[in-house]
Symmetry: C2
Subunit: 376 residues, 2 copies
Amino acid sequence: MYTLLKQEGKARRGQFETVHGTVQTPVFMNVGTSAAIKGAVSSLDLKEVGCQVELSNTYHLHIRPGDDLIKDMGGLHRFMNWDRPILTDSGGFQVFSLSKLRKITEEGVHFQSHVDGKRIFMGPEESMQIQSNLGSTIAMAFDECIENPAPYKYVKDSCERTYRWLERCKKEMDRLNSLPDTVNPHQMLWGINQGGTYEDLRIWHMNEIKKLDLPGYAIGGLAVGESAEEMYRIIDAVEPHMPKDKPRYLMGVGTPINILEAVDRGIDFFDCVITSRNARHANLFTDKGVLNLNNNKFARDDKPLMEGCTCPACKNYSRSYIRHLFKAKEMLGMRLCVLHNLHFYNDLMQQIRDNLDNGTFKEFKEEKVKAFSGRV
Amino acid sequence: MYTLLKQEGKARRGQFETVHGTVQTPVFMNVGTSAAIKGAVSSLDLKEVGCQVELSNTYHLHIRPGDDLIKDMGGLHRFMNWDRPILTDSGGFQVFSLSKLRKITEEGVHFQSHVDGKRIFMGPEESMQIQSNLGSTIAMAFDECIENPAPYKYVKDSCERTYRWLERCKKEMDRLNSLPDTVNPHQMLWGINQGGTYEDLRIWHMNEIKKLDLPGYAIGGLAVGESAEEMYRIIDAVEPHMPKDKPRYLMGVGTPINILEAVDRGIDFFDCVITSRNARHANLFTDKGVLNLNNNKFARDDKPLMEGCTCPACKNYSRSYIRHLFKAKEMLGMRLCVLHNLHFYNDLMQQIRDNLDNGTFKEFKEEKVKAFSGRV
């Protein structure tokens, strides 16, 4: 399903075929936590800003509106009117970052809903069942996500358990895909590499999960407390052990510079909430670095957020107007900034792919890393 | 500038030419208080939902971002990227409904900003100066807006003063339009009829302001406490005294039924915040009456908000999905509902115009008043 089209150093230009269409990689997935993108952005808007893959959160959708409801409505694609690929995370990250009073056993995790305090149990089977109800294109394995740094012994035990959970995920996904009323019988399960910041654990774990021959592999548990340099070190250590013929996904990463560095280290898929989180604070990504629209100097600035940008915000509105919308607490301000930031990321990935096609990625990367370090 | 194309009873089908294009009447103006429509709706979206005239609020824009800034940015049309007509209110209504510690004198009104408590003075000249800086197509006269009911003596004194203020508005607007750096030298001033719920005061006032030969006249001070029947009674009393060759605007009205009844009584222009206010509470206008999306019965309802509707929400999303967005507090829910409600109103006005063209307005009105009284 994954075809490596071209390589420059470790950087990979590829494409990935799914039942919901072909994804050109490297790709940045646009995050729609609760089947909607923060900032009043719809599935139609996603097409306009060049999104290839939408990412939704299993934990959030399980709690509200409930995955059973989404299954009744024909699955997540139909529910949110999006016909391109969807990746759902496993719920694991949110169970460990959002929920209260959690208790981990070999079976799975007991925790309380962050919405109403209700007691919930989620293990590998439950996560697969929820994701099967959602009918996403790609389901992620249920894993434990540890904050960095963590003690070696804890990380070792945890990633051994995460491996056993992955075996259970695979078995359960195979069973669910064969059920007559399943939403998407071609749903894929991707494995997640863990091991904290310990290279030996990372490599051991990667080699174990590789044996399960899954259609894709992610590196999880990064961008959760460690430095960018540590993150790059872990990628450098794990990458040689990842299958060449499968897509690689670096979960929850990151800034434009992080993405350029990770593509350069052989990563194909990315996702991050930074696009909407920054937009919420009127922080815009531009080809000259970050622009903070709260700055007084933009009050009478007639220029678009980023000159030359073709996003719906830049084509139609000025910095002055959008800044006013933020000050006046008009939701439209956030919407325009989210549209811009998503377009910026999707366009950056397009430029990365073009430069890989042309064999000019190295120069492109160096030039952009320098430019993105600035401030407008 | 106003051409009466056809009449059915008192109901008028007309068109109104402005420097920003021709308005087909009867028309519902879409409210964008702070140069943006509540619910993350942009000027581009307004075109998609069939808006002919946008309405912005002088008081809000004076306070934030400041009309001097908007003038520096080329006026409100350029600032918000809207090339069709804009009507600005005078600020009077907000001074009387939003601000604190107000004191009325012959000169004007002293009050405190509802945002930062700053002391502000606004009189007829100041209101015209602010609206001139905004450069709207239609500027409204600065008046005192009284809650109904109010004592006869108070209303009489108030509407006599409002008349004197109107003379000052006209003089100031003429002066501003002749200045070399004015944003819109063709800015129109419309007069506002006041007189509370007293027919004799209303008629006296209408006859006085008519003498100033302004390009349009509004009925103000209704829908502020009195019943719909009282409102219709006042319209019936005032309408015979309004010029036939000028557009008539019923300020701040109203529900779809109010609009049908007022069109039937000879009104041409309307505006109301009910479209976005109802949307905020997930209350949708439909051809079968109001639909409250919070109702449990819509949780798994795959139908659009209103069957047969061609708005961006109904063409793409289900009741079930939009209801979920509200429950999950996703801003997209409100955006979709505002788009639907605005489209509903603009489409209702189109149907009213079509039926006036066809001479079938009476039957249409009776059928719709009945249908709109229902609940979905």
